[in-house]
Amino acid sequence: MLNLRAALAPVAAGIGVMAAAAAVLVPTLGGHAFDDGPAWHKAPPPVRGTSQTRPAEERCTAQNAAQSLRPSADDGPAVDRIKEKGQLVVGVDQNTYRWGYRDPGTGKLQGFDIDLARAIARDILGPDAKVVFHAVPTNQRIPALQKRSVDMVVRTMTINCARKEKVAFSTAYFQGGQQVLAPRKSPVTAFDDSLRGKRVCTAAGSTGEAELTKQRHGATVLTVPNQLDCLVRLQLGRADAVVTDNALAAAQAAQDPTVELKGRPFTDEPYGVAMNKADTDLVRRVNKVLDDYRGGGAADSPWMQAYRKWLRADLPRIYGPPSPEYSD
């Protein structure tokens, strides 16, 4: 399976480029990071308005949202600014287990996102790079970038068109999607009719809530302020299942060995590094770092090492990073 995945990557990348040109039938195949990708992936219907004309840069759609600028190691004003400061200021999460959280022993931040931020800093500033982590809450991610109080945000941030109007994104470094989390012994098997009659918890205003509004599968929906509150409700017996990003669901599963992810992700949510919209040179630089980091999906690539260290236990059966898609 791993070989298939590795073989698929460049093909998928190529398709991604084609998608940009003509919004083809399987536009986000490049995002598939799972062994049996197309089987679970529900591709959104192609947008008619862009199917015949050349869409490319001018029009952002769900299909081409994950496209970014081609990688380059050249320094520009943003990279120079960081080098001048001698430190990289990164906005991160401190609440999401395995992604960005504080080690109780040391009080230091760690996780998958934190490792990636360190790799970017090392590439720009050298081996002894100084990284300053700023814990930014969800609602402060975009303002922090616009005010330049951080150089970039690495914080399980989904790339989408609405956000791309305000900030710039790197290529996708993780393929996320909504998924169901439930106790191991639960009869719930996936986001399907096994949810009938169950109480399903999701965060208010989240993609999960939107999906449940579209299709409840006969479940009762319970909304809470934050996705992690769902695990509290699950443990207290007030909910039977949780719908949230698979990355966040995995973080929940990591904190409670009696629950697990069920079925497959049923939406398409690529995570990217967000930067100020004007910092195009930094975007290209980060994309270059990401290319190295992915290492073509090789087993000993930094990406796979980080995956094994932080995520595999609760997010198994991922055999490589998502392939990058470019808009130019």
């Binding site: 109780p104 300053v132 982590f133 814990a135 809450p137 969800t138 609602n139 109080s149 992690l228 695990l231």
Partner: protein, 496 residues
């Protein structure tokens, strides 16, 4: 004499026959006019009338027969006077005892219950704030913090038991006590789960703590507040009962004095003797009792009003101010626990918004650092009636302003992403907001102690004014009755 009006029917009959010898016919004629009346309902039937006569009617007849002679009349007058005076004494003693009991209830029962309810309310808010503070410190949570949290829960649980035995079946209070007793152990369980997860470094701990806080906010504190309100309502009811004028006793007293006055006037007219010592003594006893009744009540009312104005109202505002401060502190801690995990509708941090609301309630905007008039501290300052009461409130206000300034620094650090710095500013050692909060709490505690004392001394003064009044009224009434009987007896002896 104003009392003459109240007994006018009798004197009007008496002057009509100013000579004692002329009196019997006039009574006899009136008797004749009333006599046929009971016979009429018999409907002309001759037989049934005698069978219908009751003991009461017989008694009346005897009375009428007795009243045909002056000694007989005097006996009736003496009996009526003694009865009126004794009724006055009894009603006065009963009404005064009632009010004294209500005043005792204010001081000995409802105010302490209200204070206990306030302590329950405060202990719960303090437990929540302390739990969040300890949570922030994580593995370094101090022994003092743990003890304080445990003590808060123990205090709340103990006072709930006490309150449930003291409520005397008030439905409102009982319902809240039941709700609190049910929710408290659940809350404690959530906090322990939060603590355990936190010590393992799981962000889930924070979610549990927020859930515990949510329960506190939505179930426990509202119930504690409702209990406090119920106890305060009862306090107000006891105040009202203690302060009510004893109208019945006053009316009975005036009636007795009036009747005594009339009897003396009648005596004077018939004998030309100015004084009847017995009746005079009876009048003096009744007047003394009446004056004592009015003065004692006026004093008690003013004392109780004082204790309400100076103590109870201030206490209430100060209790609320303390809760506000505690909740604001809890929100400040939770802002750092939640780390932006909960947002308001307009994308603001939920707990920071809560902190601001709490501060607005506590001190408001106010010009030049003063407390806004409608804010709790503004009200407390206006209600404090002496310097000793105002000083701690002003000091509390000063510390609140310092707290706000430090809080702003902490927020600025946190929003910049310098979490550790923000944390140090909130629970650290170098001029943290914790210090400011502790000072605010201590000053408010001082103000509360002062107002409690003010309440107590004013209420005790009021209570003392009623002391001995019930017994005194009873004794005076008995003396008055004896005087009336002796006075009439003296007149009667002249006919032997």
């Amino acid at each position: 004499m104003s009392s003459e009006a109240s007994v006018s029917p009798m004197p009007s009959a008496a002057p009509a026959s100013s000579l004692s010898s002329a009196a019997p016919p006039s009574f006899a004629s009136s008797e004749q006019t009333t006599r046929p009346a009971p016979a009429e309902p018999a409907g002309g039937g001759p037989a049934p009338a005698p069978r219908r006569r009751t003991a009461w009617a017989d008694g009346l007849d005897e009375l009428r027969a007795a009243a045909t002679t002056e000694p007989g009349r005097l006996r009736v007058i003496g009996a009526v006077l003694a009865l009126l005076v004794l009724v006055f004494g009894a009603v006065a003693a009963w009404e005064v005892a009632d009010r004294a009991a209500a005043a005792d209830d204010v001081v000995g029962r409802s105010q302490p219950l209200s204070a206990d309810a306030a302590r329950i309310y405060r202990s719960l808010a303090d437990a929540d704030t302390t739990a969040a503070g300890g949570f922030l410190a994580g593995g370094e949570e101090s022994r003092a913090t743990r003890d304080r949290y445990a003590q808060d829960l123990a205090t709340a649980a103990g006072l709930l038991v006490k309150a449930s035995s003291g409520t005397r079946g008030s439905d409102r209070a009982d319902a809240q006590i039941a709700a609190l007793s049910k929710a408290l152990p659940r809350y404690a369980g959530l906090v322990e789960t939060a603590r355990t997860n936190n010590r393992q470094g799981l962000p889930l701990g924070g979610a549990y703590l927020r859930y515990a806080n949510d329960q506190m906010r939505r179930e426990l504190l509202p119930a504690a507040r409702a209990l406090y309100d119920a106890e305060n309502d009862r306090l107000a009811a006891d105040y009202a009962a203690a302060k009510a004028w004893p109208w019945l006793a006053l009316a009975a007293g005036l009636l007795a004095v009036g009747a005594l006055g009339w009897a003396q006037r009648r005596d004077y007219r018939r004998t030309n003797r100015v004084f009847n010592r017995g009746l005079l003594a009876a009048t003096a006893a009744c007047l003394a009792a009446l004056v004592w009744l009015v003065a004692g009540h006026a004093l008690a009312r003013s004392g109780l009003s004082d204790s309400y104005e100076r103590g109870t109202r201030s206490l209430r505002v100060l209790h609320e101010a303390r809760i506000d401060a505690l909740q604001a502190r809890g929100d400040e801690n939770l802002t750092l626990v939640a780390r932006g995990a909960v947002l308001t509708g307009d994308q603001k941090d939920f707990y920071e918004a809560g902190f601001r609301t709490g501060m607005a309630d506590l001190v408001g905007a106010g010009r030049k650092g003063n407390a806004a008039g409608g804010s709790r501290l503004g009200k407390a300052l206006a209600l404090a009636d002496d310097e000793a009461g105002r000083r701690p409130v002003r000091d509390a206000l000063r510390h609140v302003r310092q707290w706000q300034a430090r809080h702003a620094e902490a927020r600025a650090a946190d929003e910049k992403g310098a979490y550790e710095q923000a944390l140090a500013k909130v629970i650290g050692g170098d001029r943290p907001t914790r210090e400011s909060f502790d000072r605010v709490d201590a000053e408010l505690q001082r103000a509360l102690a002062h107002e409690q004392q003010e309440f107590r001394s004013a209420a005790d003064g009021g209570r003392a004014a009623l002391g001995g009044l019930a017994a005194g009224a009873a004794v005076l009434a008995v003396l008055g009755a004896v005087g009336a009987v002796l006075g009439i007896g003296r007149r009667l002896s002249e006919y032997r």
